[in-house]
Every structure is written in structure tokens, then in C-alpha cells.
């Protein structure tokens, strides 16, 4: 690992200042992706800014929403009784990320800021129609994810919390790579009063995306059979040693049906 200066600011303003003033500075949340990246020398930050002293963790229910602090750990999301009761798909999803020790350190904000195309959370945030709160503004999930490892975040902008509307029903289904445990295809489905939203991770070349044709069919009839016969074009899907784009296209149908069956 290349060496860097380490800072642990105690105010959000200080953290933003350091990160905004230096293009080579990087924020450190849980570090469960970032530190392995540093170890492989795939990134060479001048300064690493640890966000752990900014008071950004915690889960609160606020009316028809659940608000999750950006530094909240996967393990705390998986075991939180409010999330288990109100957004069971999210609690289940968090329990499938990495392994026990990784879930004890990894955070929701870190995962969203990284926007790995095979990460789990982007599918939940997009399907739930969440809002990403930062030090300076609110960003709708539909505008936040902008392609593989790319988000709407500006230089030095820090996610502070994630606001999630409580849906009527939710479920996550993950078809895992047997070795890495990352999603080859992951589907999060959420039934809202206003209609169904369904988001897919792991499969798209541009990262997470919504499947509008399935959403339309499921909004009319929330059952696995409603999406029978909906074909997903393989053109924009990933193809790698683990799965071809055609196979991923097929899996999207299968995994979506499983997700709907689980939620319904």
C-alpha cells in the first residue's frame, strides 16, 4: 500500500473542507472495499479522511420513512427491528453482503458512494425510491446512480444519511457468484401505494437499473406470473467469465419472479 496522511475530523464541515481542497484526498467509511483497493495499489490518495467521528450512524423511523445514517454498518441494518418489520427486503439484503466480519465494518453510505455495479444496496435504494442526503443537498435515487462506479456526488461531497419511504411490500433476491458472493444478478422489488419499483444490480453494464416493463406489469398485478414472458434484451448486460450477457438476461426473469414471490 502507498502511504498517505490520515485524518479523522470531528466535524462534517472540516471533513468537507479537506476533501474539497485536495483532489487526491479520499473519504474512508467502513473501508471494506476501499482498504482492499489500497492494498492492491489501485488507488493512491494523498490523504485518507476517516468519517467515523462525524456522528453519521443510526437508524430512525420518521413517519412514513426510515432514515439511515451514512455510517451505519450492514450488521446493524440487518438486525434492526424497525427495518426488519417495515422494509424486510432491506434487512435481508444487508444480511447477504460480504461476511460477518465485513458486515461489522462496511457502511451503507460507503457502498452507495462507491456504486460498484455488483453491490447490493443500490438496488434497494433505487427500488425504494430513496433520497440520498449529503452535506449540501438531497439527491433522488433516480438521479444518484450514474453508471459503473459513478454517482452524482461532487468532489468533497459527503453522504450524511439515506431516507427510505416505507413500502407496502419489499423483497431482495440475490443470485450469487459462488466464490466472491457478489450478485451476478440481484433484484430488489418494492410495492408502493403509487406502484411497483423493481431494480436490478450485478447485471447492467451501467450499474444498477430499473426494469420499467416489469414494473408496469407488476403494478397491474403483483404476482410472479405477471412478468411471465417479459424478455430482457442482453445488449446492455455484463458478460464475463462468470456469466454471459444472455445468461444474465435469463436470470433477470427468474430472479425477479423469485423476488416477487418472496414479497407477495
Amino acid at each position: 500500500m502507498y502511504d498517505f496522511t490520515y485524518q479523522k475530523p470531528s466535524s462534517l464541515a472540516d471533513a468537507v473542507k479537506v476533501l474539497s481542497g485536495d483532489m487526491e484526498a479520499k473519504a474512508l467509511a467502513g473501508g471494506q472495499t476501499f482498504i482492499p483497493v489500497l492494498k492492491q495499489r489501485l488507488n493512491k490518495p494523498s490523504t485518507v479522511v476517516d468519517l467515523s467521528k462525524l456522528g453519521l450512524s443510526g437508524i430512525t423511523v420518521a413517519g412514513d420513512k426510515i432514515v439511515i445514517g451514512a455510517m451505519t454498518r450492514h450488521a446493524d441494518i440487518a438486525s434492526n427491528p424497525d427495518i426488519q418489520a417495515k422494509i424486510p427486503g432491506l434487512a435481508h439484503q444487508a444480511s447477504l453482503i460480504g461476511d460477518e466480519a465485513v458486515r461489522h465494518r462496511g457502511t451503507m453510505g460507503g457502498s452507495l458512494a462507491n456504486n460498484d455495479p455488483a453491490a447490493c444496496y443500490p438496488s434497494a435504494i433505487l427500488a425504494l425510491g430513496g433520497t440520498i442526503k449529503t452535506d449540501r443537498r438531497s439527491i433522488a435515487a433516480d438521479d444518484f446512480f450514474q453508471g459503473m462506479f459513478t454517482t452524482a456526488l461532487e468532489q468533497g461531497e459527503i453522504i450524511t444519511s439515506i431516507e427510505l419511504p416505507i413500502p407496502q411490500k419489499s423483497a431482495y433476491e440475490k443470485f450469487r457468484n459462488p466464490a466472491s458472493r457478489y450478485a451476478i444478478v440481484g433484484v430488489f422489488v418494492a410495492k408502493h401505494a403509487s406502484g411497483v419499483r423493481l431494480a436490478i444490480t450485478g447485471a447492467g453494464q451501467g450499474g444498477v437499473f430499473r426494469h420499467t416493463e416489469m414494473e408496469k406489469a407488476l403494478s397491474a398485478n403483483f404476482s410472479p406470473d405477471a412478468i411471465n414472458g417479459i424478455v430482457t434484451p442482453a445488449d446492455d448486460l455484463n458478460s464475463d467469465i462468470h456469466a454471459s450477457s444472455e445468461y444474465r438476461a435469463h436470470l433477470i426473469g427468474v430472479v425477479s419472479k423469485r423476488a416477487v414471490a418472496k414479497a407477495a
Binding site: 479523522k8 473501508g31 482492499p36 461476511d99 465485513v102 461489522h104 465494518r105
Partner: protein, 161 residues
């Protein structure tokens, strides 16, 4: 050089480190606690698992400076001063839950957190899922699972005393 102050196995240390020093490097190279192993360097194998403030973490995936002010327990901190093994260590011995032993420190630390966080009991499935982040290349999982199941009542009986 920056300094980090932390408590390891009940003893406080203040150590000079670099920004990039990993917790596992601090433990092994600065404090000489080589019971915590580095197996893969890619955060997958779990041989480096220690407890930070009571929670199992991969010490190869945490900077030493992140552990400032923390209480760390390593495999060396489990046995009593007179050499009496921790019940989990005892059950690993009893059930022959190791072959080459390389993964054992991480397995034991993960297993203790798993048992402590499931006071009501652990199914075999839960034990196997709980070990997802610990790899044993001698294929010794069966006996590891048996050892953890056997340690559960011992650890909770002891906690109830």
C-alpha cells in the same frame, strides 16, 4: 509519525505507525502478537480476525489508526493467566477442529463473537453461515462446526455464573 493508543488484551500501548499501517501489521510487527495470521491479503480468508470493542473484524482490512482508543482482543488474549484455555479453544482441541492450524486463530475469534451474539442458541446452518468469511483449506469445516456447537453451552453457562 502519527501515534495510535489502544488496549490489546488488557494492556495499553502507544505505538508510532504510518497512515497505511494495517491493524494486523501493528499487532504482528509492532507488538509481536503473531498469533493473528495474514492468509490472503485480499480480505477474504479471515485468518486475521480479531475483536475490536468486542466485535469480530478483519484486522487486515482496518487501518491501525482507525483503532485509536479501541479495545482489541487477539487469540493470545483468550486463555487465562494460568494457561487454562478459553472454552472455544478447549472445544477446538476436543473436537480436533484443526489440521494445519493456520486458519485457527481467525476461526476461534469469529466463533466466539458468533456464540456471544446468539445467546439463545445456534443451528448448524447458522454456524456455517457465520463462518462464511473464514476459509479452511484443510477442509476441516465439519469439526469446526462441531466444536462451535459444543462451546455454545459452555460459554453461556459460564456467562450465567
Amino acid at each position: 509519525m502519527p501515534q495510535v493508543t489502544l488496549t490489546v488484551n488488557g494492556k495499553q500501548h502507544t505505538v508510532e505507525v504510518e497512515g497505511r499501517t494495517l491493524l494486523v501489521e501493528l499487532l504482528r510487527e509492532k507488538l509481536g502478537l503473531t498469533g493473528t495470521h495474514i492468509g490472503c491479503d485480499t480480505s477474504q480468508c479471515g485468518a486475521c480476525v480479531v475483536h475490536v470493542d468486542g466485535i469480530s473484524v478483519k484486522s487486515c482490512t482496518q487501518l491501525a489508526l482507525q483503532a485509536d482508543g479501541a479495545k482489541v482482543t487477539t487469540i493470545e488474549g483468550l486463555a487465562a493467566a494460568d494457561g487454562t484455555l478459553h472454552p472455544m479453544q478447549e472445544m477446538f482441541r476436543e473436537h480436533h477442529a484443526l489440521q494445519c492450524g493456520f486458519c485457527t486463530p481467525g476461526m476461534v475469534m469469529t466463533a466466539i463473537d458468533l456464540v456471544e451474539s446468539h445467546p439463545a442458541g445456534l443451528t448448524e446452518k447458522e454456524i456455517r453461515e457465520g463462518l462464511e468469511g473464514n476459509l479452511c483449506r484443510c477442509t476441516g469445516y465439519h469439526n469446526i462446526v462441531k466444536a462451535i456447537a459444543a462451546a455454545h453451552p459452555l460459554m453461556h453457562a459460564k456467562a450465567a455464573e
